[in-house]
Amino acid sequence: MTAPSAVPLTGILIDSTRSLTFTFEDRPVTALAGQSIAAALYAAGVRVFSRSFKYHRPRGLFCVSGDCPSCLMQVDGCPNVRTCIEPAREGQVVRRQNAWPSADFDVLRIFDRFDRFLPVGFYYKHFHRPRWLWPIFEHTVRHIAGLGRIDLDAGPFPTAVVEHLHTDICVIGGGPAGLAAAAAALAAGARVLLLERGPQLGGHLLYDGGRPGEIEPLRAVLESPRAQVLCGTTAFGLYEGNLVGAFREGGLLKVRARHVIVCTGSRQQPFLFPRNDLPGIMLGNGVLRLAHLHGVRAGRRAVVLTDNDGGARLAGQLADLGIEIAAVIDQRVEGPCTGDWPTFTSSTVLEARGNKRLRAVRLARRDANSQIIPTTEQEIACDLLCLVSEPAPANELLLQAGMRFRPQGGRWLPDGTVPGLSAAGGAAGTLGLDAQVQEGRLRGAEAAAVLGYAVGFDFRSALADFQLRNAPAPAGAVLGNHLASLANRKSFVCLCEDVTVKDLEQAIAEGFDHIETLKRYSTVSMGPCQGKMCSLAASAVCARVTGRDPAIVGTTTSRPPAVPVDLGVLAAGRRHHPVRRTPLHHWHQAAGARWLDAGWWKRPESYGDPESEVRAVRQAVGLIDVSTLGKIELVGPDAAELLERVYLNRWADLQPGRIRYGVMCTEEGILFDDGVGARLGPDRFYLTATTGNADAVFQWLELWRDTWRLDVVLLNQTAGTAAMNLAGPKSREVLARLTRLDVSAAAFPYLALREGEVAGVPCRLLRLGFVGELGYEIHCPAAYAWHLWEALVQAGAAFGLRPFGVEAQRVLRLEKGHLIIGVDTDSLSNPLDAGLEGLVRFDKPLFHGREPLLRLKAMGPRCRLVGFRIDAPVAIPAELEGCQVVEQGRPVGRLTSVRFSPTLGGCIGLAWVPAAESRPGTRFHFHWAGREVPARVVPTPFYDPEGKRLKC
């Protein structure tokens, strides 16, 4: 007989005519196009794929489906890549992780010898005394334990995008059941989205020797325009409202489906025996996937360990692949004896032997009481041990969505239903290709019928009939019987976290005997695989040790994500940060503006020298772009009534053409926003709101308009209207040059509104004094803003006009003692304490904040917002903002605004101080840079207290 293992295999996913090269730890490795990184490495002779989390034990390729932690590597700087499903690419740089100096020779393996000193929960028990040792220990443990390291120099990584899809029925999994479900739903007329995580449809038919031809007709149905098929798409979460979270190359997918059918198949589970994690031990299906998908033979001489008929079948399949079968070890009393290899029934593996790779297995027979018969012990040389367990449903998504599973006849099967959700095939615990296809077809028809599509056959009785025929045998094998007597320090339940059977027994003995506390204490199922390889085994061990029914023990709660997801994918779409620019943005840019973010807006902070900008406004004239202000027009018979109810002050008595400052509170009496309002006519008002609150104020007005059903229309003119504030003693002269309006003090007094043309542009002019000088806020259509601004700048040139930015405005308004809501106030500030009591018209019967403010008024103020001066020299006053006001070392208040005032030649600010300490002249201290600095309360406004300059 020729050596059949010399014949090359043809993998379904690979193109053997094209090869590529990547770098594996500084040496080149050749792969075939389409082959996974791990398969290429396996073909190149690599057997140690990673070092385990805690003991640094060598781990080899195990599941070949992306379900276990054994093949995680660093790929192009990205840690924890599942190399068994990640296609190799030209030029990739691949490294193993969690090992020093290398995964082949890892000195940290020493921990494996000291496992007695690292029992379950050791980090809760040791190193707490002496206390100073803890930080050192914690740092060391974090360094030694764990997965990959984030390479901060790697990247830049491509930005992930979010895609939203809507469909009638989302089928997750493109195996036989999923294809049948999709085809049946399509036949009934539904829209179907099919998500398949692998690169091709077909599921286990692609590798386990089924009948691939049978799915061809189903695949043809998917050509329908109502079908969308996405391969290479992994669903990781099934959320409320049938929202499916999935990722694929390039980004995140959010699918909203009216119905979800989960057809994610099943997966084999590891067996528990000493050293069951040695490289060379693989899931039987993993061996098949490696061969049929990637064209790589996993070994030359294999032993198969099984507890069902699948073992004998696998042995036949491996023999066909040219792998010599040394033995089939069947843990059952009776099993099929096929092929020309020995089959050992009632037997089990006592131990896997070998150092960094499997050399042999030691096995023995058990007697009727499950005890090992010592005389039957023997050793069989092999380089591959295939584990063929009864497949367990891949049901994480179903569990997340609330479907319950319970053990019935040795299998975990769905128990009960969830609206809008169903399962078919292996995920529902259904075994056998025919049954899986049939169930898929029936569930697809059922889902379509629930959504109102006409199904051409009686699927209900067919489904009932199906369930009857596929009910599990009442008395099956006891779940987990192979666990009986092989508790050992090296029998690994959880490959991710290095948790052994012994660890679980120890944890249960310490009282953590509930599956959820057992998980948290031992960390079983908390690793990257999220319990796919250990959840059922942990449950079975817990059931055996506690003597409880496995159905009572259950499994731990399944939560998203079901598979590891790159953080970059989850961050997709979060980078969207809108930027708003005023119509004058590019003028400011050209004038050398330094930018400031104000909400979403870009505003000029200054044009280089804020101090001289302040002087220009005080001595001549300045111009600032205030287009970011919220601008709202109210039209309707109830306009005044709405304002009366949401603002603290009165509006009903405001005369047309006049302006009033207004402040509004929340229902709790907390300061919300301020601005000015002008009356345009009997039932027409024009309001401004602060830049950051413009949207919130508009929504607030609409909310209460609708709640009270007031007859008023609200127009948000924030974006469509530009505004600029011309301020300074010379502003009247500048304005007079550009308009035919009478701007004399008598004809256009303080707090008046006029409408007219300025530089040929139709404008609203509001005579205001936020910065404390004679000034005009000019509002005009945004499209004319540039023209108007330039006209003002030109007309003002002869008067020394300077554009000024937000920083100069802050200083100017602070000199006037004006507070800024949100800067000088917070979510506890009320208008009484803030010195705005004069605005609160308690004689109004109804307004937001009336009741709480009445109570606060009765209680008297506890703190006050006051003006202060600092006489000590301060280098950068703005840095003092936020400093605590202290009294005998205890914080009693804080500084909210601090600036150097060029006008007053000193450092001034606003601060919250205790009411008892708020009289002008009182000295207080604030804490800054480790010392207490004195300041004194002074009356506000600091500048022009009588307001002569702005009213002139």
């Binding site: 909310l703 609708d706 059903r709």
Partner: protein, 72 residues
Amino acid sequence: MSFLLTCPNCGPREVTEFRYGGQILAASGNNLPGPQRERWYHRLGCRRWLVAERDVRTNTVLGTRWLAEEAP
């Protein structure tokens, strides 16, 4: 939280398009498990306030209508 709200103007939309505006106080008691009336604002849509009746135990939306048409 991931459910759909049916805007009377725009139809069924993701809840993330809306801003929550608080429960409408009820005479029978507030902040209780079960259906409650709430204000929602269709921030990323037609920008109008609506009322949704939602079972806070299951996030099932039982119905929506304009706030201005809600019984006071």
